[in-house]
């Protein structure tokens, strides 16, 4: 299904999306999916979405082509405050970040196989990523950064929340292999300004929390060396994702504090492919995560309707 989806997307012409459509594009679920959105009226205890978000839209990026546009930060203050509030619990595998812990082996299996193939690394060694420089944008407490370091990569972890970086730093120091991770409290945009580039750029479960996904993807693209790779994972803006991520995770299971997710800022796989393409990043492989409710295990599948992960590449120069 994911493969079909990709080929369908490749046929889509990016010109379809005219500049004036860019903004509403991310706010309009019906553009791609025509699904009925349930009314939240009858469920006062449920989150206020999925009616269009009450948060103000970021300022339009309508600057003229020649003008050096002021870099809008991808930060969304109230989103960051949510993470700062629970940052002490990053490494509590039964705490609010339980889903990330549970999904970690599965998403790393995806990253391992795609990166090994792309960079022609032998997957049959304990440290296949030796020699690769990887940045983990929105690293949080380092749930992804640490395994990447154990797999041999030279890892830079960045997060906009100072407290997260502190926790990440302390935790990584417990193990000589992960104590080499370079954790910095900064943003993707600032790294771009510093002219930093990496072989691979990871940003998992972050894009749904940023103010301007298109701008954010542009930064990720700029951080990627030509011929390098980008991996992004996020939650789909589908009804099933709405039910699974928000209602179940935040309201029923109390995995996540209420308000962690804002449904309207989710991207569909189609939208992600489009915005990456506009930053000259081509999505080559996409997979969905599905949870087996009986075993509590996450599996990779071609069902991208709830959580999905995309592997993309940047063209080599010349």
């Amino acid at each position: 299904m994911a493969a079909k989806l990709l080929s369908r997307l490749r046929q889509l012409d990016t010109r379809l999306i005219s500049p004036q459509h860019q903004r509403p594009f991310f706010r309009n679920a019906r553009l791609f999916s025509g699904q009925q959105i349930p009314s939240s009226d009858s469920h006062p205890s449920l989150p206020p979405t999925p009616t269009p978000t009450p948060t103000p839209l970021p300022p339009p990026t309508a600057g003229s082509a020649g003008e050096k546009r002021q870099r809008t930060s991808s930060l969304k203050d109230h989103e960051l405050a949510k993470f700062a509030a629970i940052s002490d619990t990053w490494w509590d595998s039964e705490g609010p970040f339980k889903p990330l812990h549970a999904m970690n082996p599965t998403r790393l299996a995806f990253i391992r196989s795609t990166l090994c193939r792309h960079f022609s690394k032998d997957p049959n060694v304990p440290k296949p990523f030796e020699g690769l420089e990887i940045v983990d944008v929105g690293c949080g407490g380092g749930i992804l950064s640490e395994p990447l370091a154990r797999l041999g990569a030279t890892v830079t972890g960045v997060d906009a929340v100072e407290k997260n970086i502190k926790i990440a730093h302390l935790h990584a120091d417990l193990d000589p292999t992960t104590s080499t991770i370079d954790y910095v409290c900064t943003t993707a945009e600032k790294l771009v300004e510093e002219g930093r580039q990496f072989d691979a750029v990871m940003s998992l479960e972050v894009i749904e929390h940023v103010a301007d996904p298109a701008e954010f993807c542009k930064s990720l693209a700029a951080l990627t060396r030509p011929g390098g790779a980008v991996v992004i994972s996020t939650i789909n803006r589908s009804i099933r994702a709405y039910a699974a991520a928000i209602v179940a995770a935040e309201y029923i299971l109390h995995w996540l504090p209420r308000g962690t997710h804002q449904w309207s800022s989710f991207l569909t796989p189609e939208e992600l492919v489009m915005i990456l393409k506009r930053s000259s990043i081509d999505v080559e492989e996409m997979a969905g995560f599905v949870l087996n409710p009986l075993t509590g295990k996450w599996l990779l599948s071609d069902d991208v309707s709830v959580n999905f992960i995309a592997f993309a590449t940047k063209k080599a120069e010349g």
Binding site: D88, W91, L108, L170, L174
Partner: protein, 542 residues
Amino acid sequence: MYVGGLEKNRLPLPPPELASLSPSLLRAAARMNRLVVRRTLYSNHHPLKCSWKRGFCSGGEAAAAAASSASSGQLNLEDRTFAGDDQPYDLAIVGGGMVGMALACSLATKPLTKHLKVAIIDSNPTLANKLSIKREDPPDPRVSTVTPATISYFQDAGAWQYVQQHRHAFFDKMQVWDYTGLGYTTYDARDVNKDVLGCVVENRVLHSSLLSRIEDTDVQKTIYPSRLASMIRYPSSSVKADDNTWEASYMKAGLVKLEMSDGSSLCTKLVVGADGAKSQVRNLAGFKTTGWNYSQNAIICTVEHSVANHTAWQRFLPDGPIALLPIGDNFSNIVWTMSPKQASDLTVMNEDEFVKAVNQAMDNGYGPHPKSNFSNGSNKFSFLGGNLTMSTNESFEVPPKVVKLASKRAAFPLSLMHANDYVAKRIVLIGDAAHAVHPLAGQGVNLGFGDAFTLSRIIGEGVAVGTDIGEVSLLRKYEAERKPANIAMMAVLDGFQKIYSVDFGPLNVLRAAAFHAANYISPLKRGIISYASGEQRLPIFP
């Protein structure tokens, strides 16, 4: 590995004569010995560019330092200096018995785990100075019946070739019968389309084969020739579970420190308790166990025949079963279950009388031979819908006579023990430390090997995705795989025990019927054999 290094560098352990010296001298010798070899290892294998917090693992002061910095709310991140000896181990295997060494061997021979830094803690001297077992030595009475599943694990790890260089006995037939003369059953490897049902190997052969295989590899292993005395886990009791400060999270993610009885200590990401039924790791971790003693003992010994034996025999007597297992050449091993009183009588009686008692027990003592197959046998149970198998038509046989006792007799109490948990953060139990079964069906070590090879595979899966191998979520995968398998086998063995340890008197006919049923209903029998031979399928019966 350290042992290999020892041999290469000619740095033997303190020789036996040192045993008469003072304990502190011995300790110093052991420490020096370890340090010297570890240093060679480090220069060989460690680029040592990694920075690591000094002192964290090198003594009680580390915990104190951590605690004090926790209270001051600040940890000095700059205090990171190189300190090779403080590098934590990836794994510390406490107990280098058959199961512990099987884990070490499997890890050492797999591409994703051979780089792991492993410590083995055991005072057993054969770990450092491998036994040289000669072909002509009489067999040791401690033997194991290894199942085809165990054999393929050994082959996979490259250790079976070493077993083959020593005495071992494959058997393809098993005859089980009852003293009342009412029933018998024969299991044949052909019933399950296999060449063999199992192989009987001396424990010391299995152990030294695993060691030999580890020595073939150039992996890094360090042996601490001592015993585990204490284990300090973070969070220590001073950190409250609901304390969510980042200082506490530092403690919560902390490693385990092991202290040995010779005063040495180490720090590790994962402690593997492979230290047998009286596991110290299990006790120190506070894991509860469920278990009971059967007021029965088993006598084990080696006996000699005048001809070679190729069948495993088991006969149920009024006080428990006696088993005669081939172990190669003209030798067999005996496991004979009885009341503690009888056991002590039989262990002290003179050898000739004992041999006579064994022959009686295996032949027509206590009751007649079962009659040959009933002509209507297959019809009798046909309502249960089985097909006939080849061995159904095999007739009852009398086991070969024992002519001589070939070892000491030893008696062991029978018991069953199961740990309620196998894993906690940074702690995992394998082998008898997690479950001890009575030797009745010779399954004990097979379950342990199943644990060891499964854990090795799961650690490999964790390494593949960069997981901290002490993470409880990873270890739970191991527990989820092994616990049901072990419990099922224990239930079967316990059932066996319950059925056959009591003399039902007239009800013996039911037991005999059960034998007949087992003999005639082949799908069922296949189930029993495949379970007994290590394929994980639960028989619906006995």
